[in-house]
Symmetry: C2
Subunit: 316 residues, 2 copies
DNA sequence: AACGGCGTTGCTCATATGAGCAAGACGACC
DNA sequence: GGTCGTCTTGCTCATATGAGCAACGCCGTT
């Protein structure tokens, strides 16, 4: 009976969803009562034979968002749909757009917004609508491109976000990682730097991304780390970095010595924040996303469907 | 307005299709009347943002079948869904299953069924349900594997189909293509062969597949043609073969001399048949499928969604 | 053969939804 | 400013659909 009904339920589903027939009409075609047809359709749905997708760049997966919030200690999750997606760029764009939308919808509007830098954050800045807020002070939370390199994307990201909110940008005038601990301590103690770090520590919300631990990292491109150093970090269990600090799958700093030489707010400060928004998407960021979420580094995660599925574990 | 409404319609669709909320509930969430919500959903559908797929090996695309019948001179079309398909094998299996189902459902049940041979037809024979009919005489319509080669798939296909219908199989004891015209004429005139050809010509239905014109053809494997010969045929415009005879995109025999040396019923006989069922599926068979359909070689086409889409032309 | 459990069937009724329409809003043009 | 035409809105009403229930049939057990 199960076999026969399965075929029937497929025939019914074809007529119902493709041909837009009423259950009654289907009944007379298949020589069934309309109630039987209704039950067959319910069965087809329950068996997962009916797949409904919303194909749109702004489409989200509310069910997954809810399940993520339930299954983790996130207070909020934004999951963009991957339906009908073409390349990796499109995934990035969709995620960045969703992050921008979320940021623009934040209430209360953050007075001070701490941000990291990188490809993802930059993209978010581009997707923000001008006038998304009025008067937000955007402050960098980790060191990066040197001051004299004009129009570095890091600075650009902060400035763009601030401009679009008719606010001000406060840049962190410091490298990301120093070679000697003493230099780092000296820089961090410098008035100009210390003031920014203090402001960063007091931000009312944070927005940051995370990098996968591999040789394509922005930290390697910028010359702060070598591919060899990354390999060492991976050996020690590193899955990726958040604001320039590498963590393992449990969220622990993998190399405390290196961490000491890194400029910017530390992970404990992020963990204490009321609003820490992580934007992490893409097939190679599943591990770091999991580390960030499980170790409580963010309160909000903006991600894609596939990553969310990986976080929720199998069977989802 | 269009912009705003588009976003709203996506939000509404998420709540409706993913969260199973009623339009009324969605209305109070989005601060809209339930009629507005209904209109937004209709709009989302009309814009193609809602994609509903039936994910099942036996699922068909009734809409495409209808459009195919309207757009061509087919009397019947069976289009299997490619939703959720994994490999090429699965596509073959689905199509073969659909062909088997169609054959089993044919009314009136054919007294004599003419069949070709090949991978596709063999697969169809395997998917047929034992007892699909009672007492069908299955007759081969084109030459193939020699008699003395035991358990050739060609013979096997015919026998399996016949057995499952408690009928008899009549094999065509002849090669597919002869090297010399005289030999072909002699064989065709032979009592044993002529009798089978006559029976084939009088079949009440035909079931056959088609091959793409390339070096992987079964005719090359069997040694009837060389890769070089195929290349020549392609140069002359060949897109594929039906019952061993190569045609161009308009359905014309590309090499009459070769055709003369080919054993089996010819295309004119197929075109005169009341029931000629072609089973042609797969990404590389679009061209030959089009040639078969437009030149009226079959009355029924069993194919896959992608091939059907190619037949219907762009915008579909 | 009688009984009782279990799944299936066909129903009633409440609800959700779509069609169609009148009123209103808006903009263009006189 | 008035007026017309068009698009949008909120409605009424008919229809489609799902929930829940009683009757039924099918089996296995007593």
């Amino acid at each position: 009976m199960i076999e026969i009904d399965e075929m029937l339920s497929i025939r019914a589903a074809e007529l119902y969803y493709e041909e837009n027939k009423t259950q009654d009409e289907i009944g007379s075609i298949l020589r069934l009562t309309r109630w039987k047809v209704g039950r067959l359709l319910a069965q087809a749905k329950a068996n997962g034979f009916i797949r409904i997708e919303i194909v749109h760049p702004r489409a989200r997966r509310l069910g997954m968002e809810r399940r993520l919030v339930e299954a983790t200690r996130l207070t909020d999750a934004i999951v963009v749909s991957t339906a009908g997606i073409q390349g990796d760029d499109e995934l990035q764009a969709r995620t960045a757009q969703a992050a921008a939308d979320y940021l623009a919808g934040l209430r209360p509007v953050p007075r001070t917004l701490g941000i990291s830098w990188g490809r993802t954050l930059h993209e978010v800045s581009l997707h923000l609508r001008a006038g998304w807020a009025s008067g937000v002070n955007v402050v960098q939370i980790n060191g990066g491109v040197s001051l004299n390199r004009r129009a570095g994307t890091a600075a650009n990201t902060a400035v763009t976000i601030a401009e679009k909110a008719s606010g001000t940008a406060t840049l962190l005038p410091s490298p990301a990682i120093l070679e000697r601990l003493e230099t780092k301590q000296a820089i961090a103690a410098d008035r100009a730097v210390a003031a920014v770090l203090e402001m960063a520590a007091g931000a009312s919300a944070y927005l940051f991304s995370a990098g996968q631990a591999d040789e394509n990292s922005a930290l390697v491109d910028s010359g702060y780390l070598t591919a060899g150093q990354i390999a060492d970090l991976v050996d020690k269990g590193a899955v990726g970095d958040v604001v320039g600090r590498y963590i393992d799958a449990t969220g622990r700093i993998v190399d405390p010595e290196l961490d000491q030489r890194t400029i910017g707010i530390d992970h404990d400060q992020l963990r204490k924040a009321t609003r820490a928004i992580a934007v992490i998407a893409g097939p190679n960021k599943h591990a770091i996303a999991r580390a960030v979420v499980t170790s409580g580094l963010c309160t909000t995660l903006v991600t894609d469907e596939d990553t969310a599925r990986a976080l929720l574990g199998p069977g989802e």
